[in-house]
């Protein structure tokens, strides 16, 4: 007799899925916005898409540390937003701001099992990554040399590691916003949005 295994999502699994999304999402943004040279990226197949991920050791190390910490906070259900800001190197002016709002289901705990398959969640993530990639068609060209920064909004009671510091929101003056798709694991829901400086 054939047996069926029903897939479900746990808190730990949900945090891993969301953290993985951030890793690929941030890499995609950094590639397509030209923050790092294209030759420092390599192809990877993920979510049924061809994605580009960095091969730059320093950047890999930085992203590993940041996303590792975010994953811990996702497990603790205390993270509210992840924001990637792109700034001009010469003036430090913020020109683009990618905001990922995270809603955590505070009722979830280590024993929680939600009735949603990983495949379903990854289909939703595929759509949002595709949309992020498609934003290059309308985002203004970044003409100056730019750098990026990652901001994490957490609950007030979050324990902040020593190498993390408090920061301002890095808003853009005179910006335009485009809301993108969202996905949910049923424990964490992520809504994406990009804001960019209005051009004449």
């Amino acid at each position: 007799m054939a047996s069926t295994v029903k897939q479900c999502i746990t808190l730990k699994g949900s945090a891993a899925i969301v953290a993985e999304f951030f890793n690929y999402g941030i890499n995609s943004i950094l590639y397509q916005r030209g923050i790092y040279p294209p030759e420092t990226f390599t192809h990877q197949q993920q979510y049924g898409l061809t994605l580009l991920v960095t091969t730059n050791d320093e950047l890999l190390k930085y992203l590993k540390a940041v996303i590792g910490q975010v994953k811990d906070w996702l497990n603790e259900l205390i993270v509210q937003k992840l924001v990637l800001v792109i700034k001009r190197v010469d003036t430090n002016e913020v020109v683009e701001r990618w905001q990922f709002d995270i809603q955590c289901d505070k009722t979830a705990n280590e024993t929680t099992k939600r009735d949603k398959t990983e495949k379903e969640v990854k289909e939703e993530i595929k759509s949002i990554i595709r949309q992020i990639t498609a934003t290059v068609t309308f985002l203004p060209l970044l003409e100056a040399v730019c750098s990026f920064d990652i901001l994490i909004y957490t609950d007030k009671d979050a324990e902040v590691p020593t190498n993390w510091g408090e920061s301002g929101p890095h808003f853009i003056a005179n910006s335009e916003e485009v809301r993108l798709r969202s996905f949910t694991t049923t424990i964490h829901k992520v809504d994406a949005m990009v804001a960019f400086k209005k051009t004449d």
């Binding site: 061809t50 498609a134 798709r181």
Partner: protein
């Protein structure tokens, strides 16, 4: 339109030059290829990655690429080359015939049996309008296309062929790089999306001066309640016709009648005795006919074929076909 499942409208804030319209069609095709899984990366990134791969191969000739990677690169190269050719043909077609009003992008094994059809209704050319740049128009259009996910679909679609068919006026006997397809019809089968592009452009009032059948006040005429006398008739005549020399013309243009009050539809028998001089009370402003629209009105797509009848237009199919691929 039969078989079309979705319609999307986008209004540009000004007119579009023919060259801009051609480039927008090209940009929609690029975006569509990515959205519908026909190319693994956005077109410009695909080109960039291929150029990098070629540079790597040139610098390290001894390092043979894996056969599968080599095949992928070959396919990418072929797609890029065919697309470049197709885009060039589209630009030339719009240069030859700026009046092209419709482009149809078909995804499927043949143009007659597409799995998906995308109909792009382009805005009419309007020389009087302020034209907007390609950059602005592209940004505005794609911001909406991406945010509203107009071209994305959950329907699975494997690698297939992409065809482009343009609808041009019958006066366009030849479009470079395109083959006339007299028998082509927009397919009714498969998934279909119509993208109506409109322009906010000025349209100028026509000369139809028909008034609504309501009372109007003509400034400068004292209210009188007398029936026509010869003197009054002369006075009235001078008001309506500033120079006696134009009397003959006026006679064929104006007919003032108590019952009608029309300033059009010339009456052959202009009879002064019919003129009633009691100035009507103030009424409504002239009703502008349906063809008259105020400045800044929309060039609304009327749902007809290129804004022309089928007999006035002819289809041209691009001789280049693009075959999608998957990594």
């Amino acid at each position: 339109m039969a078989g079309c499942s979705k319609q999307f409208e986008f209004v540009f804030d000004g007119g579009l030059q023919s060259s801009t319209r051609a480039l927008l069609v090209n940009e929609v095709i690029k975006h569509l290829l990515y959205e519908r899984n026909q190319i693994p990366l956005q077109f410009d990134f695909l080109r960039q990655q291929l150029a990098l791969a070629e540079t790597d191969n040139a610098q390290q000739p001894s390092t043979k690429p894996l056969s599968s990677q080599s095949q992928v690169d070959r396919k990418a190269k072929s797609v890029i080359s065919n697309l470049d050719n197709m885009f060039e043909n589209i630009i030339k077609a719009f240069e030859t015939c700026p009046e092209i009003q419709k482009a149809v992008v078909l995804l499927g094994s043949t143009p007659a049996t597409p799995k998906e059809s995308y109909i792009i209704n382009l805005p009419h050319l309007c020389p009087e309008a302020d034209n907007i740049s390609l950059k602005s128009s592209k940004q505005a259009l794609f911001q909406h296309l991406v945010a509203e996910q107009v071209l994305s679909s959950d329907l699975p679609l494997g690698p297939t062929n992409l065809y482009v068919v343009l609808c041009a006026p019958r006066t366009a006997s030849h479009l470079p790089g395109f083959i006339p397809k007299a028998s082509f019809k927009v397919p009714s089968r498969g998934h279909c999306l119509t993208l109506n592009m409109l322009c906010r452009q000025p349209t100028f009032a026509c000369q139809d001066l028909t008034f609504e059948d309501t009372e109007v006040e003509i400034s400068g005429i004292e209210p009188l309640s007398l029936e026509c006398s010869s003197l009054d008739a002369t006075v009235a005549y001078h008001v309506m016709s500033p120079s006696p020399e134009k009397r003959a013309r006026l006679q064929s243009q104006f007919h003032l009648d108590k019952r009608k009050r029309h300033l059009s539809n010339p009456d052959k028998d202009f009879d002064l005795t019919k003129i009633h001089f009691s100035t009507p009370l103030i009424g409504s402003t002239p009703k502008i006919s349906a063809s008259n629209q105020p400045l800044g009105s929309l060039d609304l797509y009327n749902g007809t074929n290129c804004g022309q009848s089928h007999s006035q237009s002819v289809w041209f199919q691009c001789s280049t076909v693009v075959k999608g691929y998957r990594v």
